[in-house]
C-alpha cells in the first residue's frame, strides 16, 4: 500500500468510520430520553353548551366554543388554533401531564359583567394512551367574579398516518 493510500485509509477510518460508531452510540443513548407528552393534533371538544352560553363572558371566548380545535406543539410549548380558519385561540405550556394556556379573548361591551379586559385560562390534564388521548379540565375567567369555571373534556382524533411515531 502506497503512502498516499495509507493516509487515505487512516483519514477515512478516523473521520468516517469512527464518527459512524459514535452515531450508533448517540442513537442508543437517546432512546432513554423522554420528550414532553404529545398533545399535538385535532381535539374534539365536549363542553356544556348551556353553561357556556349562560356565562357573561361567553362572547369573549366564542372561538373556543367550536366543536373542535387543534394544538400545534413544539416541545412543552403549544398554540391552540380554531379548526375553521386556523385562527389562533391561545397559547400555553405543558408540565408533565398538566397543561395551562391563556386564551385570546375578544373585547366585550363594557356594560357586560364580564369586564372589558377579562383573561381566560385553560387548565387541563392529559390522560390515556398515545392513540386515544383525553384532556379533562376547566376554563377559568380571571377577571370575572360572576363566572364559574366551566369544566370541559376533549378527545384527540386519531393521528394522520404519516405521524413520526416510534
Amino acid at each position: 500500500m502506497s503512502g498516499g493510500n495509507r493516509n487515505f485509509v487512516f483519514a477515512y477510518a478516523f473521520l468516517v468510520v469512527l464518527p459512524l460508531l459514535g452515531l450508533a452510540g448517540v442513537l442508543k443513548m437517546g432512546r432513554h430520553l423522554a420528550a414532553p407528552t404529545s398533545i399535538d393534533g385535532v381535539w374534539n371538544l365536549q363542553v356544556d353548551a348551556a353553561q357556556m352560553t349562560s356565562l357573561p363572558c361567553a362572547q369573549a371566548i366564542s372561538a373556543f366554543s367550536d366543536q373542535a380545535f387543534s394544538i400545534s406543539q413544539s416541545g412543552p410549548d403549544f398554540v391552540i388554533n380554531s379548526l375553521a380558519g386556523s385562527q389562533t385561540i391561545g397559547s400555553g405550556s405543558l408540565e408533565g401531564n398538566h397543561l395551562s394556556a391563556t386564551l385570546n379573548s375578544v373585547p366585550v361591551p363594557s356594560q357586560n359583567s364580564c369586564g372589558t379586559n377579562s383573561n381566560f385560562t385553560l387548565l387541563a390534564a392529559v390522560e390515556g394512551p398515545a392513540d386515544s388521548k383525553i384532556l379533562t379540565g376547566k376554563l377559568v375567567a380571571g377577571a370575572c367574579a360572576s363566572c364559574a369555571p366551566i369544566p370541559f373534556r376533549a378527545e384527540r382524533r386519531p393521528a394522520a398516518p404519516s405521524k413520526a411515531g416510534h
Binding site: G4, L27, L33, S38, S74, G75, K163, A164
Partner: protein, 426 residues
C-alpha cells in the same frame, strides 16, 4: 372548488415579490434563489402576517393554501427531476481520494453533530409522538444536505467550475445529495411503515425492485428516446408526453411504495441519458415554467409555514443559534478538515468547506417533508429554515474572504449542460 381569483392573485403577488427580492439579492452578489427563499419568508406570518395581518389574511386565507401547496409540490417534483438530470453518475466514478473522503466526511460530520444536538433538543422541541431515533436521523439528514444548484451557480459566477476546488465540490455535493435523499427515504419508510399494514421488509423489497426496474428497464427505453433525438434532432410531442408520464409515474410509484413523490422524480432524472445535447433539449422544455413560475410558489408556501415570531424568548433563539453553529461546524468544519487531510492547502480546504455548507433550496425541500410527516415541530421547522437561509447566505461573503484570488486564477470554462441549467435555477 378553488377560488380562482384568489389563486391567481396569490401567484401574481408571489412572482412579483420573488422577482424583486431575487434581483435585489443579485445586486449584493447573492444567488437569485437566496432572494426568492427570503421572499417566501417576507410573505409569510414572519413579516406580512405580522405587519399587515389583514392583508395577509386576504391574500392567503387558510382555506386557499391547499391549492397553492398542490401547485408548489408539482413544481418541486419537476425540480427534483431536473436535479437528478444534472447529476452524472459517470463523473462520480472517477473521483480522487480527496473527493471520496470529503464527500463522506461532509455527510458523517454534520450527521453525528446533529444527532448529538438532538440529545439536547429532543426533550425541548419535540414530543413523545416522535421517537428519538427518527428525530435524530432527520436532523442529521437535514443538516448534511448540500444545495447542488446553488453550489453550481456560485462556482460558475466565480469561474471556478473546472478548478480543482470546483470539481471536488460539485462531485461531493452530488454524492451528498444522493446519500441525503437515500437516508431521508429510509426515515420516511420507517415512519410510514409504523402506521402501515404492510411489513417494512415488503416496502423495502418493493423499493429495491422498483429501483432495479427503473435502472435496467426504463433506462433502456430512455436510450431509445435519445437515439430518436439524435436521428431527428428533436423529440415529438407524443414522446415528450411519454417522458413526462414516466417521470410522474415514477413519482407516483415511490409515493405508493411509502417514500415520497420526490424520490421517484429524482430517480427518473438520475437515470436519464446524460449526452449533453439531449439533456439540454429536455431541460429547455422544462426549466422556464419550473424556475420562474412553480418554484417561487414553493418558496412562498414554505414561507407561509415559517413563523419566526414563534421563536419566543431567548431560549428559542439560543436553540436556533445552536442549530446554525452545529450545522456550520459539521459541514464547513468537517469538509475543511477532510480537505486538508486529503492534501489541499488550508485556504482551498476552507473554500471547499464553505461551498459544501450551502443548503439552499434542497434544505427547504427536506424540511418541508419533515414538517409534513410531523417529525419536526413548527418552531423547530422555523429554526431549521433560518439555518438553511443563513448557511446559504454566508457562502458568498465567506468565499470572498477565504478565496479572493480564486476567481482570477481559474480559467473561464463552460459548465456541463446539467450544471448550467441548475445554475439558472439558482
Amino acid at each position: 372548488m378553488p377560488n380562482l381569483f384568489n389563486l391567481v392573485l396569490q401567484i401574481t403577488v408571489i412572482l412579483a415579490v420573488c422577482r424583486i427580492t431575487g434581483t435585489l439579492f443579485r445586486k449584493i452578489h447573492q444567488p437569485r434563489v437566496v432572494g426568492e427563499m427570503f421572499a417566501g419568508i417576507l410573505l409569510g406570518p414572519s413579516l406580512l402576517g405580522w405587519v399587515a395581518p389583514q392583508i395577509s389574511a386576504y391574500l392567503f386565507p387558510p382555506s386557499s393554501l391547499g391549492f397553492l401547496n398542490a401547485l408548489s409540490q408539482v413544481g418541486v417534483v419537476i425540480f427534483m427531476f431536473l436535479v437528478g438530470l444534472g447529476i452524472n453518475p459517470k463523473e462520480l466514478k472517477h473521483q480522487s481520494h480527496a473527493a471520496v473522503l470529503v464527500s463522506h466526511v461532509s455527510i458523517t460530520a454534520p450527521f453525528v453533530l446533529a444527532s448529538v444536538l438532538a440529545l439536547y433538543l429532543y426533550p425541548r422541541l419535540s414530543d413523545s409522538g416522535v421517537s428519538f431515533t427518527n428525530f435524530a436521523l432527520f436532523m442529521g439528514a437535514a443538516m448534511s444536505i448540500t444545495a447542488f444548484p446553488v453550489l453550481a451557480r456560485i462556482l460558475t459566477e466565480r469561474d471556478m467550475m473546472h478548478s480543482k476546488l470546483g470539481t471536488v465540490a460539485i462531485a461531493c455535493a452530488a454524492v451528498d445529495d444522493v446519500t441525503g435523499w437515500c437516508i431521508l427515504a429510509y426515515i420516511v419508510v420507517l415512519i410510514r411503515a409504523a402506521h402501515a399494514a404492510t411489513s417494512i421488509w415488503i416496502t423495502l423489497g418493493g423499493i429495491l425492485l422498483f429501483a432495479l426496474f427503473m435502472i435496467y428497464g426504463v433506462r433502456f427505453l430512455l436510450r431509445g428516446l435519445e437515439r430518436t433525438f439524435h436521428k431527428y434532432g428533436e423529440i415529438s410531442e407524443n414522446r415528450m408526453a411519454f417522458l413526462i408520464l414516466l417521470a410522474l409515474g415514477s413519482a407516483l410509484c415511490t409515493e405508493r411504495l411509502g417514500i415520497h413523490l420526490l424520490f421517484g422524480s429524482f430517480l427518473m432524472g438520475a437515470i436519464m441519458p446524460k449526452e449533453p445535447k439531449f439533456v439540454r433539449y429536455i431541460l429547455d422544455r422544462f426549466e422556464t415554467v419550473t424556475i420562474t413560475l412553480l418554484l417561487p410558489l414553493f418558496f412562498a408556501f414554505t414561507g407561509l409555514r415559517t413563523n419566526i415570531a414563534s421563536l419566543r424568548g431567548p431560549a428559542m433563539w439560543f436553540y436556533c443559534g445552536l442549530i446554525i453553529l452545529v450545522a456550520a461546524a459539521g459541514k464547513l468544519g468537517g469538509s475543511t478538515v477532510a480537505g486538508r487531510l486529503s492534501g489541499m492547502p488550508w485556504r482551498e480546504a476552507a473554500g471547499l468547506g464553505t461551498l459544501m455548507n450551502t443548503r439552499g433550496l434542497m434544505g427547504l425541500v427536506i424540511l418541508d417533508i419533515g414538517l409534513d410527516i410531523k417529525i419536526i415541530s413548527p418552531a423547530l421547522f422555523s429554526m431549521m429554515v433560518v439555518m438553511a437561509l443563513v448557511t446559504t447566505f454566508m457562502a458568498v461573503p465567506l468565499l470572498d474572504l477565504i478565496c479572493p484570488q480564486e476567481a482570477q486564477r481559474a480559467k473561464p470554462q463552460k459548465a456541463t449542460v446539467g450544471q448550467e441549467t441548475l445554475q439558472e435555477i439558482a
